[in-house]
């Protein structure tokens, strides 16, 4: 595929594509795992751990690519097909860049293994011959292409492809077929096969030092040179060109430009056959040269090329910057930068508003998640790991989440509580409590007030209950009031409500003296609001009128005092406005109290049993 095209896609579409959600969720798990991972591990084991994290990210990208590809081929809608195919190329480019960064930065492969890694890298991103040919044939001017003339000899091309990718065994296997077709060139074939078999490659283990390898390689290179100059392959142009490639002949390699498809494949091939022990710091020179040669002034570098070049030059910040520009979604740069930061590779690069690059990118990414109706939950964890501004961002974003159901509100609340975001807890509980109150769900409203420890709201709810009682003469929602438990203490009004209900219960159970004591206590301990005193005193009436004397003298005096406090408190104007019922009530109370006092004095004055 034309891998050097990176498309810029609109941000909204990114978020809403189903398949990308898997990417976001899976990578979230990897991100959290990385933040929690052992920092104490040092040296090799830490590096191995980080490389594994990088591989995990890449496998998630590839899985996503696979899904997207499936979606592309199974859809009948051409617009969707185009959209999905575009996403596949973008994901492929992301994986390409990430993979290179893993090799150069995370693993920091040294000379020797570096080449092997680069070989693996290009092999993951190549096209097979059939696709190449298909593309050529379907292009505007097929005959312009070399491939067109060789299309008939597929395996010709395939051998070349294998050689260019350094896949010697596979190349040799195919060459054997070519040899059997031309019996006259058996000897030639044997020589070439031998050369290919003997080619020294860097080893991954410690079996040989670089110097040893270089010596061997030099020796082998000279041998190839001899055979070429002797004219061993003169009669077979194909084998001759292979030998030239083995010798790292730039022109010979460039001739196969269409099989190389990209300049970085060209770079790796060149390095393989001219400088296999290349050091990381030398890459930049080769890379620049190869890109110039390959593009040759016909085309200018695309964004992907610039990014890869920056990587070869070990300009990490440049890579991140270019990726941010080229890709529409912050996912890639946020996670990659975070990983590089964990590798301790990024100096704290202070941007003008003070936070560092890693944090900036994570904040941007997480903010994007919060704009999604469902992915906001992932965003929370990302904000958690932004030490400077994460909390403030979270506070602002979390308030804007719509709370359609109680369950969602509970989840948001839990997030706030776990982070001691008290303001937000209070605010959410108040919103939910108000909603419940409007829907006449007094129990739910109380439940929310208890969660927020919101005394003021609990008072509000209690007033509602009391108002209902005054209007209807009985309590609603007894199941709630009778079972307040310790939450009764949340607000004085709530305590009063509970106790008042208890008074009614005691009265109903004919436990009059206990009821009387409670009633009095409600007033004297100022648990009852002043507005309710009249009601309470009126409730005392039946107790005063009982055959048996219930209130003691002391208690009666207290009651009288309460009544006087209540009436004295009223201004003259109020007294004038009081209707007859009010005045009559007061009169009745005064009378009842006086009568009770009379009876109780007599009772208390009388000696028992005499």
């Amino acid at each position: 595929p034309s891998s050097s095209r990176v498309f810029v896609v609109r941000k909204d579409q990114d978020i809403y594509i189903q398949t990308l959600r898997k990417l976001f969720n899976e990578s979230h798990g990897i991100f959290i795992g990385l933040q929690r991972s052992e920092e104490e591990l040092a040296g090799k084991s830490r590096k191995a751990q980080l490389v594994q994290v990088s591989k995990n990210y890449r496998s998630v990208i590839r899985a996503c690519m696979e899904d997207m590809h499936q979606a592309a081929i199974s859809t009948r809608d051409p617009a969707l097909h185009s959209q999905y195919s575009t996403q596949v190329s973008i994901l492929s480019a992301m994986e390409l860049i990430w993979n290179l960064c893993e090799i150069l930065f995370v693993e920091a492969a040294a000379a020797g293994p570096l080449l092997l890694r680069l070989l693996d890298w290009v092999r993951l991103h190549v096209c097979d011959v059939d696709n190449m040919v298909r593309e050529v044939l379907s292009s505007e001017n097929p005959s312009k292409h070399e491939l067109f003339w060789n299309a008939a000899n597929r395996w010709f091309l395939q051998v070349d492809v294998f050689v260019l990718q350094g896949r010697m065994d596979e190349a040799r296997h195919l060459l054997a077929k070519e040899a059997s077709a031309n019996p006259t060139s058996v000897n030639m074939y044997k020589t070439l096969d031998d050369l290919m078999k003997k080619m020294p490659v860097p080893s991954l283990g410690n079996t040989q030092t670089l110097t040893e390898m270089e010596l061997k390689w030099q020796h082998w290179h000279e041998e190839c040179q001899r055979y070429l100059q002797d004219g061993t392959f003169a009669s077979n142009s194909h084998m001759e060109s292979i030998c030239k490639i083995l010798l790292g002949d730039e022109d010979a390699i460039l001739e196969k430009k269409e099989l190389l498809t990209t300049w970085y494949q060209f770079l790796v091939t060149r390095l393989l056959y001219s400088h296999p022990t290349v050091k990381p710091m030398e890459l930049r020179f080769y890379a620049q040269a190869c890109m110039d040669l390959f593009l040759g002034g016909e085309s200018s570098p695309e964004p992907l090329d610039t990014i890869l070049m920056a990587a070869f030059e070990f300009e990490m910040h440049q890579v991140i910057k270019e990726c941010s520009i080229a890709l529409s979604n912050w996912w890639f740069v946020a996670h990659l930068t975070d990983l590089l930061d964990h590798c301790k590779l990024l100096q704290s690069h202070n941007l003008y508003f003070g936070s560092n690059m890693r944090e900036f990118l994570l904040l941007e990414y997480a903010s994007g998640l919060f704009s999604h109706h469902s992915l906001w939950q992932l965003g929370v964890d990302y904000f958690d790991h932004c030490p400077e501004y994460g909390r403030v961002y979270l506070e602002l974003h979390i308030e804007r989440i719509p709370l359609n159901t109680e369950q969602k509100a509970l989840k948001v609340l839990r997030i706030c509580e776990q982070r001691q975001m008290h303001e937000q807890v209070r605010s959410i509980c108040k919103i939910m409590a108000m909603k419940a109150l409007r829907n006449n769900r007094l129990g739910s409203a109380l439940s929310w007030s208890i969660r927020a420890k919101d005394a003021a709201f609990a008072t509000l709810i209690s007033d509602r209950f009391l108002k209902d009682y005054c209007e209807r003469g009985c309590f609603s929602d007894l199941d709630l009031i009778d079972n307040l438990g310790p939450s009764m203490l949340l607000s004085d009004r709530l305590t009063f409500l509970g106790k008042y209900r208890e008074f009614h219960r005691l009265y109903g159970e004919k436990r009059f003296s206990e009821a009387a004591k409670l009633l009095l206590m409600l007033m004297t301990a100022h648990i009852a609001p002043c507005s309710f005193w009249m009601t309470l005193l009126t409730d005392a009436l039946p107790l005063l009128e009982q055959k048996e004397v219930i209130f003691s003298a002391e208690q009666t005096y207290e009651l009288m005092r309460c009544l006087e406090d209540l009436t004295a408190g009223k201004s003259d104007k109020q007294k004038f406005q009081d209707d007859d019922v009010e005045t009559m009530k007061v009169e009745m109370l005064r009378l009842a109290l006086a009568r009770n006092l009379a009876r109780v004095i007599v009772k208390e004055g009388t000696l028992e049993g005499s």
């Binding site: 109706h373 469902s374 769900r441 439940s447």
Partner: protein, 375 residues
């Protein structure tokens, strides 16, 4: 064993997972489950199948991912879900609607079979524009009982258009869950920490019994009854506490077990092995509670992963006589508690257990299946 967990990312936050029930005398494990999503503009009910166990080799090789068979759009969050029978699923919605879906096995499709719109609503059915969320549903074919944020209890009958019975304002707070105690009695839990028993034969709209948590009235979110011992009930609270109640005696829980660090969303006794209990929570963990005392039977997965708390053994208590769940001192009788999730992140919203198979769903948009839990 725990390595047999199969994860699948499904691009939707899963609120409910339920195994399709097995026919009475079935020997094979369940192979089909349903999921419901939430918090999406386009929520779905999905049916998944898991591969048959016939292909598993001796060392329990890779089972294969759950495969999506069919799905259907659902209006509102899926708040609760239960299989009515082999083909029908009842779903409770955040819009207050209760829907019965039918799964057509021949062509693998789902269709809405019956719907009770505005089964739950605030104030006035005709004037209120939105409904109130229906938070819980329980079935005993053909009866369906639902509860909601409106404090209402509905009794429906499949294929009957109108509700058989409705108890308005059954509760002044939100009813979070409902389950059957007996065929004519139900249990509800609410957001002020109360467990109520309702006798559906009686016409009065009052609970026949009310139980409360001691101390703070922490909201209760889930309830389940012991499959064999009908007086043993377990509930899960907003503070992650597991409470076990003996409803024959007292009005308070028998034991309180501290487990999760956040809301416990679901509690399930294992239907055929009730010495095992499973709970899942907002804190991202899924706990397996094991009171079985036979050492030889101890499942091997208990040695791996997560936190594992072992209490000292004090056996010789005859399990058939006294339920281990009701013993007052969990440290006296051995109870093993294991977290089945090694790397917890987001909330586990739902779980279901049937035979050796466990399925659970998370807010990280993933479904997990383990078909060899006791291997």
């Amino acid at each position: 064993a725990m390595e047999d967990v199969c994860a699948k990312f499904v691009s939707q936050k899963i609120s409910k997972t339920r195994w399709r029930p097995l026919p009475a005398a079935a020997l094979q494990p369940p192979d089909l489950f349903a999921t419901g999503s939430w918090d999406n503009e386009d929520n779905r009910i999905s049916i998944w199948s898991v591969g048959d166990l016939g292909n598993v080799s001796l060392n329990g090789e890779y089972q294969g991912e759950p495969q999506l068979l069919c799905d259907i759009r659902h209006n509102g969050d899926v708040m609760d879900m239960q299989f009515l029978d082999q083909e029908r699923i009842v779903v409770a919605s955040s819009t207050g609607t209760v829907t019965v879906f039918r799964h057509h096995q021949n062509n693998q499709t789902l269709s809405a079979n019956q719907r009770w719109e505005k089964a739950h609503y605030h104030v006035d059915q005709d004037t209120s524009c939105g409904g109130a969320a229906c938070t819980g549903v329980i079935c005993n074919n053909p009866e369906i009982v639902t509860v909601g944020e409106d404090g209402r209890i509905n009794l429906f009958r499949a294929d009957q258009k109108d509700a058989v019975r409705t108890i308005d304002n059954a509760d002044s707070s939100t009813l979070h869950a409902v389950t059957f105690l007996r065929t004519t009695e139900i249990l509800t839990v609410n957001s002020i920490g109360q467990l109520k028993i309702w006798d559906l034969r009686q016409q009065r709209n009052e609970p026949s019994q009310i139980f409360s948590l001691t101390g703070d009235r922490v909201p209760l979110h889930c309830v389940d009854r012991h499959p064999n011992q009908q007086h043993v009930v377990a509930t899960g609270g907003q503070d992650g506490m597991l409470s076990v109640w003996d409803i024959r005696q007292g009005t308070m829980p028998v034991s309180l077990l501290n487990a999760h660090e956040a809301e416990m969303w679901e509690v399930h006794f294992h239907p055929s092995n009730p010495d095992h209990l499973f709970t899942c929570s907002e804190d991202g963990s899924l706990w397996h509670w094991d009171t079985s005392t036979d050492v030889a039977e101890k499942p091997s997965f208990l040695h791996q992963g997560g936190r594992s708390t072992t209490y000292f053994s004090h056996n010789t208590i005859n399990q058939s006589v006294v339920s281990a769940w009701l013993s007052n001192d969990p440290t006296k009788d051995r109870m093993e508690i294991t977290n089945l999730i090694p790397n917890q992140t987001l909330s586990v919203n739902s779980l279901d257990i049937l035979g050796p198979c466990l399925v659970y769903g998370t807010d990280a948009e993933a479904i997990y299946v383990n078909r060899q839990l006791f291997a």
